[in-house]
Amino acid sequence: MATENPHSQQNSNPQISLYYQTRAAHHAVVTSDWLAQAQAAVGRHPEDAVSDNSSAGGEESGNGFSVIDEFNNWRKQPDLAEAVAAIRALASVIRSSQATTMMELEIELKKASDSLKSWDTTSISLTAGCDLFMRYVTRTSALEYEDFNSAKSRLLERAERFGEISYKARKIIAMLSQEFIFDGCTILVHGFSRVVLEVLRTAAQNKKLFRVLCTEGRPDRTGLRLSNELAKLDVPVKLLIDSAVAYSMDEVDMVFVGADGVVESGGIINMMGTYQIALVAKSMNKPVYVAAESYKFARLYPLDQKDMVPALRPIDFGVPIPSKVEVETSARDYTPPQYLTFLFTDLGVLSPSVVSDELIQLYL
């Protein structure tokens, strides 16, 4: 199924959010040929791809070079977050750029980042990653007094480091969350999040005794995949259908979710169903913990559920649906900050209001 993932410039199927296509490719049940594909993608050396592209592009200041292709190359790695892929893609824009002044480079980057952002408006971390990088390029005092070439190499170096940070971030988050997982606790998990998996894996490695309840995660059944992974770690796991959350909440000690994006209010945007789980947890006085890397902090301030770019995703009901019946295909919802207890980020354990403080300070 992953092989059908379109890598063309245009989103071939506007009915399905590109973001979720990537997720499906990364997180769906692993088939052997998909694995081979992913291996090939990882094995390919990034430098080659860049030089191929730029040589094909000719002299016209990297016009032939497509940032989106580059991004798609990076995106194929299942362990690489989208934001990091975006930053690496932007870095290769710098590398292949023939600009001679900072201003030129900035404009070029702006164009590239805009095209990346508009290519997939549904991916929040992609947008957030582009914004973060652009902010670094345009607003950093560190670059002001250097000559152009050293500034350029500095930018490249920074982009490289970002990749490492993203990998380290998960480890840090897993470490921070350990003291919150106590022996004998029951954790409810919704959706498949690499960070949450890392958290649970670390806890299992630390010989903690805990039980996990996984929601099914309709329609793409991400919960099945997570329960699969947890079973491999010998963690006791129980699957729930999505509607059994309130029923099981009394045996739950804490709710752990990942996030597609963390927004300025301190709330999160995550897979459909997170909001209702948070509501149930709040009404039963259970803590809701969010694990999210700091590059998912986005400059968005959704006022309600509909105040977002909708990310759509097909839903298979198993039976044909009459054409007169409308289907809600939105893939995610917004959970306001008052329903969250803590966010575990690589910046520390933050309460939602600190997150908004952090974001406001950064873009002030």
Partner: protein
């Protein structure tokens, strides 16, 4: 064997027997003890900071184990550890200039490195960044170094001459001791700093409710009285220790209109109250507080009637631990004699009569945990000094301060001593 052993043992014994009471006194004594530990510790030529850190840490572990519920001890130990690291970094940076000079004179060891001064500077930068709170901004401006900050400390200046080393060791010690002195001064003056805030919170003819006795609250109310004149104070006695009686006496002595009520009367009286001000034992990382027993009830009453529940606490009470941490969930059980006179009930509490455990038990816990939702404001002393009086919503406030505190402590990610 270091000479400070005796001092440490003495203080540990005091903590064990609960001879030291009150977070402020404990914090002060801890800081003083650590000051003598620092001054008595013999320092080798290399790695002074790490030796110092190691000795302070081992003393700290003992102190914390002696009385785990007195969180101020741990807080002060973390502060001192931070002070040592900070001073070490600042010495390292100031040495950068010296290094630069010595390259010109052609020192071999240093010339191995292409650019020693910038190397030292970058190390200093790394340390500095590891000392301050991680933030998105820092992530962008100064991404965490790829090379893990290996523990070099002042050993970076190995090539200095002998007497230089000597002065250096004295320098580090001297700076650290100076900084601890400032810390002790801060602890001493925290009540007055907090009292400065009083004017902003208490107004003419208001009715204030407080619970038990806290020196911080006493100073706070006294300061308010000097400026605002007339307001009324209700004092819940805070059974079983009834420290509220003492506070009532002190306040009445100052000419403040005070009324003593029983703890059970809090709900009955709360509708007449404009503001609840209390002192607490410790403030946790999530903004919840550990307070004398009975406080949760007061907080609930205030919450129910939408009356601001204000907590005053010196910065030494802010603790980077979460209330589910093992050390914190421990409550202290005090002697039952505070509740019951033994003579009257001895028949039911005697193990020698009857079989098995006696039928009558007395539980006398010392602390309550008040969750952060019930705390409307936290006033502490740290920002007044920076002339930056932050009075934001409690959650943001505390977690910001705690974020700062956490970084004041260890490197940002391990908050345990």
């Amino acid at each position: 064997m270091p000479d400070y052993r005796g001092l440490v043992d003495e203080f540990v014994a005091k903590l064990n027997k609960r001879k030291v009471e009150g977070s402020q006194a404990t914090a002060r004594l801890t800081a003083e003890l650590l000051r003598s530990v620092v001054s008595l510790q013999k320092l080798p030529c290399k790695n002074q900071a790490s030796v110092l850190i190691e000795s302070v840490r081992s003393v700290g572990v003992q102190l914390i184990a002696a009385n785990p519920i007195e969180l101020a001890v741990g807080n002060i130990v973390r502060r001192v550890l931070h002070i040592i690291r900070e001073e070490d970094v600042s010495i390292l940076t100031s040495n950068t200039g010296d290094l630069n000079l010595s390259t010109e004179s052609g020192d071999e060891e240093i010339e191995q490195d292409n650019n020693p001064s910038s190397f030292a500077a970058s190390i200093a930068d790394i340390y500095r960044s590891s000392l301050c709170a991680p933030s998105l901004h820092a992530l962008l401006e100064d991404a965490p170094s790829t090379k893990a900050p290996c523990r070099i400390y002042t050993s970076g200046v190995d090539s200095e001459e002998k007497d230089d080393k000597h002065s250096l060791s004295r320098k580090l010690k001297h700076f650290v001791i100076e900084a601890i002195k400032t810390l002790i001064g801060d602890i001493d003056s925290c009540h007055d700093q907090i009292a400065q805030e009083a004017v902003e919170h208490i107004h003419q003819n208001e009715v204030i409710l407080t619970f038990g006795r806290s020196r911080t609250v006493l100073k706070f109310l006294r300061a308010a009285k000097e400026i605002k004149g007339s307001f009324k104070v209700f004092i819940a006695e805070g059974a079983p220790r009834c420290q509220g009686h003492v506070l009532a006496k002190e306040l009445a002595g100052q000419g403040l209109k005070s009324t003593v009520i029983g703890d059970a009367a809090v709900f009955a009286i709360i509708a007449r109250v404009n503001l609840v001000i209390v002192g607490v034992h410790a403030v946790m990382a999530n903004g919840g507080v550990i307070a004398p027993i009975g406080m949760h009830m007061v907080a609930l009453a205030a919450h129910k009637h939408a009356i601001p529940f204000v907590v005053v606490a010196g910065i030494h009470k802010l603790c980077p631990l979460y209330p589910h941490n093992q050390e914190v969930s421990l409550n202290e059980m005090r002697s039952p004699s505070e509740l019951l006179e033994f003579g009257k009930f001895s028949n039911f509490m005697d193990y020698s009569t009857g079989v098995g455990a006696p039928p009558l038990h007395v539980a006398n816990p010392t602390f309550d945990y008040v969750p952060p939702e019930l705390v409307s404001l936290l006033i502490t002393d740290v920002y007044c000094k920076e002339e930056e009086i932050l009075k934001l919503e409690n959650r943001l406030w505390t977690s910001n301060v705690v974020k700062k505190l956490v970084c004041l402590t260890e490197n940002a990610y391990s908050i345990h001593v």
